[in-house]
Symmetry: C2
Subunit: 289 residues, 2 copies
């Protein structure tokens, strides 16, 4: 049963060729069109060579998984046990305990619930005025890409989104094994795995890793695996980087979506008139200090 | 104006959990469910370290661009002048003449036409029974991913698809500068750039290259650029590899599409009931000799 969704104003569908480009819209958006990422939700993964990946966790969408990940980070569990174990072309980069034997902290919830989908529409849901290939409706909530069937909602598998690896049901993954999507969004995983966050920075360090030659992209030898360095929450790191995500309920975001879907600058000869949710990931910027 | 499209049988929508998996369907598909890639359409790019990328050219969709690319390959132009010059995260890997000064063979068509879209529906078009985020209809023709508005049709920008870089209109690109899509399909480029082929093998060598740090992912120094080795058509290479692409008009392909859209094997708790064209790229396999 499909319910009505709040939508972008229909007037936003048509843009003149002289309209500002997506880049120009971001450059001139007011300060209140952005929200700060909370340090308690920002997971910083250090890779060899001084490279860092910053992930925003999504407690509003995967509360028990995120609680586990926070626990593991604060216990130093990832730094002690985790390495990148799998890189499958056009699919995922995955990290966890390659031995499968490391004990988890006692407080870890072994089968977190409530992360595959959540009831109703999410707070401040803004529906896109475009078709979605998988769901009745796609849109955004608080700077997150979301889909809904009108009855429940869930985070979607787009490039850069982070999910919790799991074994067969009823296992839902503890969050000790995580993956980031590379390649075309594997949306068939939506509602089948817990999506727990989004890479805000450093995605290129994950997506450019050599692909694994084992089945479904697993690395076949220890020498291929990339040992993680420090994996901490920004709240526990002095001088941690800070980021802002564009507020999806801002006027500027609506303009940006519309401009992205109707590219008409010099290069373009034919505006698409639509855009896929995975090509509308809310803009991110570092906060300079 | 949307016209009627031939479609997969509606009966294919429902599958029992015991139905064969996509992998099983491929393993048991009859020989005539596959077509051989013609050596005259197979472009082989050699990268350093013995790595090779195999691209099937698409003369039915971009005849003048493909004629140019064949001409350039036979003249040894790419091997002499081309290197990988740009790798933009979640977008494209691009190769061409970094100096922008190399002369093209005299017979090169400088503004090829007829590649952005072509009239009517393509031969043997098989429409998907799923929504497409960008076009009125998506589907397949002869093992190629295609979209249509009912009046014309075009190849779509999915990961692994190869297009012709160009400058501002009316430039359409000669084919001397090419790119392969990495990341989520940038479908807003459909009908704005000529799509000329598809990477059948070796995509992982392109997608795992370091991202460029210049604007839109261009490499900033000569040392970052990857010089191409031999770039030849398979018809001109003794012992060249051969490939087969699944015929999109075969019964097995219909079963595979349906199984991909309704994954219900042990891991899955909730079949998607749909699939995006870019997650339905026709299967490819090497021919062993």
């Amino acid at each position: 049963m499909r319910k009505a969704f709040p939508a972008l104003a229909a007037a936003a569908f048509l843009v003149a060729a002289a309209s500002p480009s997506p880049t120009e819209i971001l450059a001139t958006a007011p300060a209140d069109a952005w929200r700060s990422v909370l340090p308690e939700n920002l997971l910083l993964l250090d890779l060899p060579g001084g490279k860092q990946v910053a992930i925003e966790l999504a407690p509003d969408f995967a509360p028990q998984h995120v609680a586990n990940i926070r626990l593991l980070a604060k216990a130093g569990w990832f730094a002690q046990h985790a390495s990148i174990v799998r890189v499958q072309e056009n699919y995922v980069v995955q990290w966890g305990d390659a031995t499968g034997k490391a004990a988890l902290p006692k407080a870890t919830v072994m089968q977190p619930q409530g992360s595959y989908e959540r009831p109703g529409l999410p707070a401040g849901f803004r529906a896109l005025p475009y078709r979605d290939a998988y769901a009745a409706q796609a849109g955004h909530s608080n700077g997150w890409p979301v889909a809904s069937d009108g009855t429940s909602h869930w985070l979607v598998h787009c490039p850069g989104m982070v999910g919790a690896g799991r074994d067969m049901p009823p296992d839902t993954g503890t969050g000790a094994e995580l993956y980031a999507v590379i390649g075309h969004g594997p949306r068939h995983l939506d509602r089948n795995i817990a999506v727990v966050g989004r890479v805000l920075s450093g995605m290129e360090y994950l997506s450019s890793l050599p692909r694994g030659t084992g089945e479904i992209g697993f690395y076949e030898s220890e020498s291929e695996r990339v040992k993680l360095g420090s994996v901490q929450l920004a709240e526990d790191v002095a001088g941690a980087p800070r980021f802002e995500v564009m507020r999806s309920d801002s006027a500027a975001f609506g303009q940006w979506v519309n401009a992205r879907a109707n590219r008409a600058e010099g290069f373009f000869v034919r505006p698409a008139g639509a855009a896929d949710i995975c090509n509308l990931m809310p803009p991110v910027r570092p906060i300079r200090r």
